[in-house]
Symmetry: C2
Subunit: 414 residues, 2 copies
């Protein structure tokens, strides 16, 4: 019978083996009492199994509070635990409750982070995964050989649909591939969702009629299920190609329901991620996280960016990009969305470390504040990526591309 | 214009005032650039506002990594920030993205926890809240003047529908008010959801026909939206009164969609909560958390228990119970579900500290392992609560009630 294996990084005030057995028991049939007709075979069938324990260092201070070591030492380890798919079948919420449920409450642990999940082949029969992913996003925007270049409308909130549409027109004419709403904006008092779709799709459709290129605009549909489905239809009827969901805020079931409609690219925003990930010994790591959202069907997923303005390290960002690009089964992978303080200068290090152009590369000020205006900003980003792929350094690229040279001059001193 | 106010407990390597301004800016219109037609009035309309700062101690070690203090000190504070409801209207996911979104990523913070939320009166016009709550749960089970007494079927997973139903029959005959599936079980290979509903509702309905008392059984419907709605209907048609959702795993939008059906009591299980709450300076506190799920419409919500087997302190459990019982608007409050290592001995301290019987009081071994069998176990729990409400100590109650005396003898030494 197929099994699902989860990898955790743990810290415990007890002997590691004992603590891990408690975890396996708590999250399956561990507190098995005698039941009439029960056999040892049945018990084994549903019991979680400890597959591997790799002991690491011991420390004298617990990572998170809630338990005290009698001997004053807290032992760290990488562990692997597996469950039969018979326990939950193909039910994402119950899978999450099994892998990330009450175990965080156990006094057997002073640290517990879900690092990765191995899913069995039959999951690919039950979950379609991303309908569009990288190839679908490229096809829709007609971009090959380089990352999709995108931007976020700023200010985050406060602009009218007409102001937003005017900015979208400028950006479309500048050659942008992708534009998104901010996650703080869905339907605000001065920017009703439908009015914004109307105003922006007029611009996007006109531009497509003229040039043959349809800019992908990710409208933030995050809301209750019925409202999301209504907004989804509204975008579709207006000729739009993409909807955005704040996946943590909406949740797995609501997000999957939207993805299952299968007609729009789903842009997955991970705001709230810091709460789940920022502590090194609590929560979940991105390689595990992105698999859950791929199963739900998200096509594009945020991964932060190299030299970002947030707390996350470059190593972590690189790991996240690699996780997105690794096939889970046959079929589409999820397009990594690179953002936060990007202006083109990071293209070189991003390409050097990931060796891919399968990215949605988002810049804000790097486009809007370019000395030649947004048109120069978009061109400069395309040039940066062309240079990076051709093995140029940032300085060499600046010598070769005039628009990018102006970016380096303006943003490179940061 | 009405505003929503959020209270955070923060730690920052910068001056507190500056860090809090960055938070307010990042989560509203802070990076406002000049937009044609923009006025100062419009800007103010959507800007988050810092309402209060209460400085606390400074420490030399950051609570979570990701930022380093130049002066070696990390400053803690309680802060309040408010947003106009015009920013998001009555959209729970966007409210969550505003209050709990990218702010956890900011290097301006080495600790950030959402402590509470103040919601404006108009929210009561847009959100029905719990349809059943405390009064509906009491009415359905015909329990007055004491907590509902409940239990969880164990082992968590591995029993057949027939075995589960046989146990439910024993528990019903013992006088139990409430039984629930474990959160690890929804539809397993040897316990298909529909088969379990059939087998258990036969028992529950027979018992109701004989005695007039319908035991509330919380079937775990957690799954994709369509499956949850299908299972919901299945329970309803079988004469069931309750469905359980693992709220963190399903998410806000999926949970609200189910609650909006309005015909079954919704039992909200908070597994995964430790991940969101266990660190003192990361995540969310229960007073804020439970408001979100009440807005979604959850009727019963887990709060752990006094002297529980998990890491949580009694103080925290008491605060959680109080939060559930505090009216948010007119209408129903959410029924606190007390569980984890409870056997009746904790009734005295629970009542002393909360002065309420508006609880669903869950015990496992305390019922099943009672020397007189489950019947004695249920009676002993009722006695414990009667004693607690009458001001008896545990010892005095043991002197007065023979079944409870046996519980004290068996479980009191722990």
């Amino acid at each position: 019978m197929e099994r699902i294996t989860a990898k955790y990084y743990i810290e415990t005030p007890y002997a590691v083996e004992k603590a891990v057995q408690v975890l396996a028991g708590e999250q399956s049939s561990g507190t098995f009492v005698a039941v009439p007709g029960e056999t040892e075979e049945l018990k084994q069938r549903f019991a979680a199994r400890v597959e591997n324990i790799e002991p690491l260092e011991s420390v004298t201070q617990p990572a998170i509070p809630g338990a005290v070591a009698q001997q004053g030492l807290y032992h760290r380890a990488n562990i692997e635990v597996s469950w039969s798919v018979e326990n939950f079948g193909y039910n994402l919420p119950v899978l999450v409750s099994t892998l990330q449920g009450n175990l965080y409450e156990l006094t057997q642990f002073t640290g517990l982070k879900l690092m990765d999940i191995d899913l069995p082949p039959s999951y690919s029969d039950h979950f379609v995964g991303p309908r569009f992913g990288i190839n679908g996003s490229r096809k829709s925007t007609n971009v090959t050989g380089r990352p999709l270049i995108g931007t976020i409308i700023k200010p985050s909130i406060g602009m009218t649909p007409e102001q937003t549409a005017a900015l979208a027109k400028t950006l479309a004419e500048a050659g942008i591939d992708f534009i998104k709403d901010d996650e703080l904006l869905s339907s605000a008092a001065n920017s009703k969702f439908e009015d914004r779709v109307d105003a922006i799709m007029r611009v996007v459709n006109n531009h497509a009629d003229k040039t043959g290129k349809k800019v992908m605009y990710a409208f933030n549909i995050s809301d209750e299920v019925d409202s999301m489905l209504h907004r989804y239809e509204y975008i579709l009827k207006a000729g739009g190609t993409c909807a955005m969901i704040s996946v943590n805020s909406v949740g797995l079931s609501g997000t999957k329901k939207v993805c299952d409609q299968g007609e729009l690219v789903i842009h997955g925003h991970r705001n709230g991620w810091g709460m789940l990930n920022r502590h090194p010994l609590l929560g979940i790591e991105f390689p595990a996280y992105q698999k859950l959202w791929r199963l739900a069907g998200v096509d594009q997923l945020h991964v932060n960016g190299i030299q970002n303005k947030f707390w996350e390290s470059d190593d972590s960002v690189v790991r996240s990009i690699e996780a997105c690009l690794k096939p889970m089964f046959d079929g589409e992978t999820v397009l990594p969305v690179v953002s936060s303080g990007q202006w083109g200068g990071q293209a070189f290090e991003t390409y050097r470390r990931t060796q891919t152009t399968d990215l949605l590369y988002m810049a804000g000020g790097g486009i809007m504040a370019h000395p030649d205006g947004p048109g120069g900003g978009v061109v400069a980003l395309q040039q940066a990526w062309e240079g990076a792929v051709n093995g140029l350094s940032m300085q060499e690229a600046a010598g070769q591309y005039p628009e990018f040279a102006k970016s380096v001059e303006k943003f490179g001193g940061k």
